[in-house]
């Protein structure tokens, strides 16, 4: 049985290796890419591999490797996968090249909003957008006569009702894992309240009413969450949903397809994708994009081939074959129910994630400092003041704030 599976797998990989015909041209320049390792990147790099002479590194820790690998001459990877945040160190170091001439030559099929422009120069090609938005169990909410929650007050009221009815012990899920995830939750809430992270000269500006409001909403949510929320990441929340343990969560659009995965999920077809709950100003979420960049340190011929291979990776065939894997930026993409939440959040005016050097430090300080408030060790103002102090120390060390 086992041997058979292995043989079958071997045969399949042979078949995949032999399927170069799907690529419009045969690539004869050796190319490598480094990107994150989630499902959408797998689909895209598999499609790139169809052109031949291409190998992909899919690595969740890519952000630690990428700046050094691109700074090498010649660059260790020709193609890089980035998001709006991980683009920053590459832009700062000047290790990625402008793509305008290549776009003009080969990019007829690209949508105008795929071109990521910095100071008028196209520096990256976006392939998908991602955002956290509300997912909820329409069967549970409908049974109790609860309307679709529009704000966090609605979410909390719905959670109280569900708990009271005894349907679930912990109706809300949340990606509150200490570190990046928890920091991201605050960023969502704070932007939803209309807050600004920085004042003049990169000085922090989060210790204000909006900051306190964001913290209070987060704390109120934890009352309805599994007590182990500080270790709960996206995968954990996804599983809670799949096992029917939670009814609502503000979760990444890229996780939506997993709700309807028959092999894993017990709630197929029961989860509705809605806009992220409104803060006082805009929906409490941030829009992210993922896309490709090309290294500066390679020859123009290599760049030419790399660009064509990259475009093959995100062409219409790939998008139609993996339609539900992500919210693709492509003419071939048909937005289904799964994309409704991300689209509605964007229409509601959700902000793009404000990626920058200082924001990287702020995000880390938030991620490490917020737990003290949620566990009750500090009050809201002290927490925010301590996070600002931590940010200032780190930003001074990084040279972003002058002494």
């Amino acid at each position: 049985m086992k041997l058979k599976t292995i043989l079958l797998a071997g045969a399949m990989s042979f078949a995949a290796a032999g399927a170069w015909s799907d690529c419009a041209f045969e690539n004869d320049v050796p190319l490598k890419s480094l990107s994150a390792g989630f499902e959408a990147w797998k689909a895209v790099t598999d499609a790139m591999a169809e052109c031949g002479n291409f190998s992909a590194s899919l690595d969740q820790e890519f952000r630690e490797k990428q700046p050094e690998a691109f700074a090498a001459d010649p660059a260790l990877y020709q193609i890089g996968g980035v998001s709006n945040a991980t683009l920053v160190p590459l832009l700062n170091a000047g290790t990625i090249r402008p793509l305008d001439d290549l776009v003009e030559k080969y990019g007829q099929d690209l949508l105008p909003n795929q071109l990521i422009k910095v100071d008028g120069k196209t520096m990256a090609i976006a392939m998908m957008v991602n955002a956290q938005h509300l997912m909820y169990r329409d069967d549970v909410l409908a049974e109790l006569g609860i309307e679709e929650p529009k704000t966090y007050a609605d979410v909390l009221a719905a959670a109280a009702k569900i708990k009271e009815a005894g349907a679930m012990d912990y109706p809300i899920g949340g990606t509150f894992k200490t570190g990046w995830n928890l920091g991201q939750e605050f960023v969502n809430m704070y932007l939803g309240e209309g807050g600004q992270f920085f004042g003049d000269g990169n000085m922090p500006a989060i210790n204000n009413e909006q900051g306190v409001a964001a913290l209070e909403t987060m704390k109120a949510m934890t009352e309805f969450m599994d007590p182990e929320y500080l270790v709960s990441d996206s995968t954990y929340v996804q599983q809670q949903f799949q096992q029917g343990k939670i009814a609502m969560a503000n979760l990444w659009a890229s996780r939506a397809a997993a709700m309807n995965d028959e092999a894993e999920s017990q709630v197929v077809g029961k989860v509705t994708m809605a806009a992220a709950p409104m803060g006082s100003a805009v929906p409490a979420t941030t829009i992210w994009w993922d896309g490709i960049v090309l290294a500066s340190n390679m020859s123009d011929e290599e760049a030419d081939a790399a660009f064509r291979v990259a475009l093959e990776g995100m062409d219409g065939d790939m998008v139609s074959a993996n339609n539900d894997t992500a919210v693709w930026l492509s003419t071939a993409y048909t937005p289904g129910d799964l994309a409704a939440g991300a689209a509605a959040s964007a229409e509601g005016g959700a902000k793009a994630y404000p990626a920058s050097g200082p924001m990287g430090i702020m995000h880390t300080s938030l991620g490490n400092g917020l737990a003290d408030y949620l566990t009750g060790a500090k009050d809201a103002q002290t927490t925010l003041a301590d996070i600002e102090a931590d940010y200032i120390t780190a930003a001074k060390e990084a040279g972003l704030i002058s002494n």
């Binding site: 952000r63 700046p67 709006n84 945040a85 991980t86 920053v88 160190p89 700062n92 170091a93 000047g94 105008p112 909003n113 795929q114 071109l115 990521i116 422009k117 910095v118 100071d119 008028g120 976006a126 957008v129 012990d169 894992k177 200490t178 570190g179 928890l182 599994d226 007590p227 182990e228 929320y229 500080l230 270790v231 954990y236 829009i287 994009w289 930026l329 964007a346 793009a352 990626a355 920058s356 050097g357 200082p358 924001m359 990287g360 430090i361 995000h363 880390t364 490490n368 737990a371 003290d372 949620l374 566990t375 060790a377 301590d386 120390t393 780190a394 060390e397 990084a398 040279g399 972003l400």
Partner: protein
């Protein structure tokens, strides 16, 4: 042995130690007094990001590092004295908390929070490891010769398992409704969340560490037990000594040098507790000194990392280990001198 042969044998290892231990140590020591940072300039930039139908473009002031003619980031290195140590220790805040007698505030400052846990962890697991190790060793020693091999093998298993894997398995056994938690819940008939407060996580970490390290202590002690003077034991039996008295007056004094050896190794290892924090992702509740260094070193998504604070913190960790080792080392030194 003549000097040339001695040098030929020792030379490579001394060279390796200089290259891989002494040199990095000196480098870290130096870095803890310097800060290297890019020179930033503020420029106005327009950035466009994809919306759903149109792009959203914003123009804002951003800090951007200056590049030289080769396209490399220009950096400057400054001597900052003890500033990085001050940033790690936060002495003013810590002192204010101590003089107010407010331990809760002290325990929210990263370094002191980490130090508190690291010390607790080290000092509580130490006697447990020595005790359990001794127990297992005696058990093996008393097992029938025919099953001794398998018993040794089984008791060594925990030590063979890679630490990160071991921690993750404990994590999965107890996280959420893991098998063990479900079992305890069924037994006590109440809902339990072991990862929702610091003390339960700390207990799990210590249990794991003892489970993991006790076999090492056991095998060392077992070797020592083979050399206990059988005549003394027999005469003690004739004098009517109980099992416990034989243990206390003959076996343990005989094993004392080994106990000190195991304790020293354990102090060094457990003061650098790290896998437990990562494997349990406990940083919301519990952090350790080594983890703090790791956290300073990890670049954020914009690529910033705090090398200077990381260096300062690792120097402080090393000083901590040295202080802890002074006591057992002094004893060994005295024994060593007494022996001649």
């Amino acid at each position: 042995m003549n000097f040339r042969t001695f040098a030929a044998f020792v030379g490579p290892s001394v060279f390796m130690m200089l290259l891989f231990i002494a040199f990095p140590l000196v480098s870290v020591f130096k870095q803890s007094f310097y800060v290297t940072q890019p020179i930033y300039e503020t420029v106005e930039k327009e950035t466009c990001t994809p919306g759903f139908l149109t792009q959203t473009c914003v123009t804002e002031l951003v800090s951007q590092p200056k590049l030289d003619e080769h396209g490399e980031i220009i950096t400057q290195t400054q001597y900052v004295g003890l500033q990085s140590y001050r940033n790690v220790l936060e002495p003013e805040r810590a002192w204010r908390a101590i003089s107010d007698g407010n331990w809760q505030v002290l325990s929210t400052i990263n370094f002191w929070k980490a130090l508190r846990f690291t010390l607790t962890f080290t000092l509580i697991t130490l006697p447990l490891v020595v005790g359990c190790g001794l127990g297992i060793a005696v058990l093996i020693n008393n097992a029938a010769r025919s099953i001794r091999g398998p018993v040794i093998f089984i008791s060594l298993l925990p030590f063979i398992i890679t630490p990160v894997i071991g921690v993750l398995s404990i994590n999965w056994l107890f996280r959420g409704d893991g098998i063990m938690t479900a079992l305890i819940e069924w037994w006590l008939n109440r809902d339990i969340a072991l990862f929702a407060q610091a003390w339960t996580i700390e207990i799990l970490m210590m249990l794991y560490r003892v489970w993991h390290v006790a076999p090492f202590a056991a095998i060392v002690f077992y070797a020592g037990l083979q050399t206990v003077n059988q005549d003394s034991l027999e005469s003690a039996v004739i004098d009517g000594a109980t099992r416990w008295q034989r243990m206390k007056y003959i076996v343990i004094p005989h094993l004392m040098p080994l106990i000190i050896f195991v304790s020293m190794i354990h102090l060094m290892d457990s003061y650098r507790v790290f896998e437990e924090i990562v494997g349990f992702s406990s940083q919301g509740y519990v952090i350790s000194l080594q983890w703090l260094t790791f956290d300073y070193l990890t670049p954020d998504q914009a690529g910033n990392r705090s090398i200077s604070r990381a260096s300062a913190n690792s120097m402080l960790t090393m000083i901590g280990v040295v202080i802890l080792l002074i006591l057992p080392l002094r004893r060994t030194w005295r024994d060593h001198k007494g022996g001649h």
